[in-house]
Symmetry: C2
Subunit: 336 residues, 2 copies
């Protein structure tokens, strides 16, 4: 496979692949080799006989990255995908919220090469799901993306593989853990800026913090859910979006005194033959389920045709949970 | 298929089969006919060319039941299963908590006949899962039981089909909706007996109310989860069980004043190479997730090897949710 992105989730995936090498073979009958890796600043590698993941993990901690590696290639990521000869693309590059690029191009290139796709990057699914899905279907290829929402918690696999013949009518969720964490800190008395800094210190915040605080990440996830589960065709720009950056400590504290709490709520709903998405801070009664979902936990409630409302909660995930989602997609792919 | 039990869930299943007749064929390529029905007091029917479900639903409302039906047979349920010639047994008979009978015998008989099994009756899975599973596996038959815990909410399908290669280490849940409802009524000021009566008026309580209030239903579900998800081999008798019948209004109200709530919690856990189950009333902080699961809602939190803790909540289910679980099992069966 060809791995795009070698940050924390890419590295954790490689750790899982090393730990579960025999399991993968016994479960699927396949052997997995990483034949190409593209990174943002560490350099790009290709080795058709398979890269040594242990070595890559060690090098990732060094200053020079892969620049002294014998498999270093001086080609860009699109060419790397073409020349990798891989059967599977794993897209874990950094999210660009404005257009889903360059991940969208990576995936289209890989589909043109006949590669199966697994992405934890929500950009392409938020921006181009319909187009990518059509292309994949035409070529008989799979497009899997469990980790784009609630990390590896089964959301898409839950609906696709367990909720057969049960339409999703709408959803409601807390999908951005950073803002959930910040709101919690404001409830414990920190003003907005201090709470944001606290989240940054925990490494919870995107490099561009607007992605979290202005609701862009939440809007992208809302778009993904609408596109995939509700058969919609929207982009993050179509989502009615309000972040938490306008909230003051006074507001949050006043809500608490009234036994209420602010949560950044994502919604997808049908109205007058249309499908709409909204991200907004909402004041909820403390007794509500969403108020029991705190710190970096997330929740999604699906309103379904046959099963009423079902909610799934992910409790304080770590990087393994994101990597597991990619790993579980890989097992589904190898099993099919 | 051969349907054992024609109470509310059996009737609702038939409604779904009527509504979704074309869907089933388009999704699975199969046509479903009910060729035999066994009931507790309405009589038993066999018609190898398929029974008219609309007619059965109408007759179920009448006093005479099926006793004037031309397909009425004077044989017991075990013989009915043998003579039905059906490919699939749907076991929806009334739960016997003491031994899982007669459902256990129904399922064994059907497996001997080479029939696939779907059961919403938790007795057989709580009492004889290992034995039944072995027999089914030997014969290449499926044994499906999604509706035994949390109605049709995917629990077993979630783990089996979406959480690949991710061991369940333990679980914690509110699995009996009747006691959850009763505790809520006690919090709003009703003494235990009045709260129980209120639940009875809503038709939430088993014919033998001890099954709910003494924790037997919860223990049976705990045994099912341990047997299936944790590869255990226990019966409801092995579960350390305490019901809510010993709780007083004073205790419940005192907890509320201290910002705490009583919940009947089911647990499965590993300790010293053993697997244990417990059902007990626990005093939880109101901020905990379980305290946001009220009325007839249920929740299960799975502690997993790769995904940390994942919880799934079913919000105030109705009879359709139980029937949907059977229907989704049927679709899985027909697709495989």
């Amino acid at each position: 496979m060809c791995l795009i992105g070698f940050g924390s989730s890419g590295q954790e995936l490689c750790r899982i692949l090393l730990e579960r090498k025999e399991r993968i073979t016994s479960l699927t009958g396949n052997k997995v080799e990483v034949v190409a890796v593209a990174t943002k600043s560490r350099g790009n590698l290709v080795d058709h006989s398979g890269l040594d993941l242990k070595e890559l993990l060690k090098l990732a901690e060094s200053k020079s990255g892969f620049h002294d590696h014998p498999s270093l290639v001086r080609i860009d990521t699109v060419d790397l995908i073409k020349e990798s000869g891989a059967d599977v693309l794993i897209e874990l590059s950094t999210l660009s919220i404005k257009d889903g690029q360059p991940a969208l191009t990576h995936i289209e290139t890989a589909l043109d090469q006949g590669m199966q796709i697994i992405t934890a990057n929500k950009g392409p699914i938020a921006w181009g799901y319909k187009r990518l899905k059509e292309k994949a279907d035409q070529k008989g290829l799979q497009l899997l993306f469990e980790s784009t929402v609630l990390d590896g918690t089964p959301v898409f696999n839950l609906v696709k593989r367990a909720l057969l013949d049960c339409r999703v009518e709408g959803f409601r969720g807390i999908l951005n853990s950073t803002t959930n964490y910040i709101l919690g800190k404001m409830e414990s008395g920190l003003p907005y800026e201090g709470a944001l800094q606290h989240a940054k210190d925990q490494d919870f915040v995107e490099a561009d913090s607007d992605l979290d605080t202005k609701g862009w990440d939440a809007a992208a996830k809302t778009a993904v859910l609408i596109n995939v589960l509700m058969d919609g065709n929207v982009t993050p720009m179509d989502i009615d979006r309000e972040g938490i950056d306008g909230l003051t400590l006074d507001q949050v504290q006043a809500a608490l005194k009234a036994n209420k709490r602010y949560k950044l709520v994502c919604e997808g709903y049908r109205k007058d033959n249309g499908i709409y998405g909204r991200v907004s801070p909402q004041v909820l009664d403390v007794a509500e389920l969403f108020c029991a979902v705190n710190a970096s936990s997330s929740v999604i409630c699906l309103q379904t045709e046959m099963m009423g409302e079902i909610c799934i909660v992910e409790n304080n995930p770590e990087i393994r949970q994101t990597a597991y989602g990619v790993y579980s997609d890989l097992l589904h792919l190898l099993n099919s």
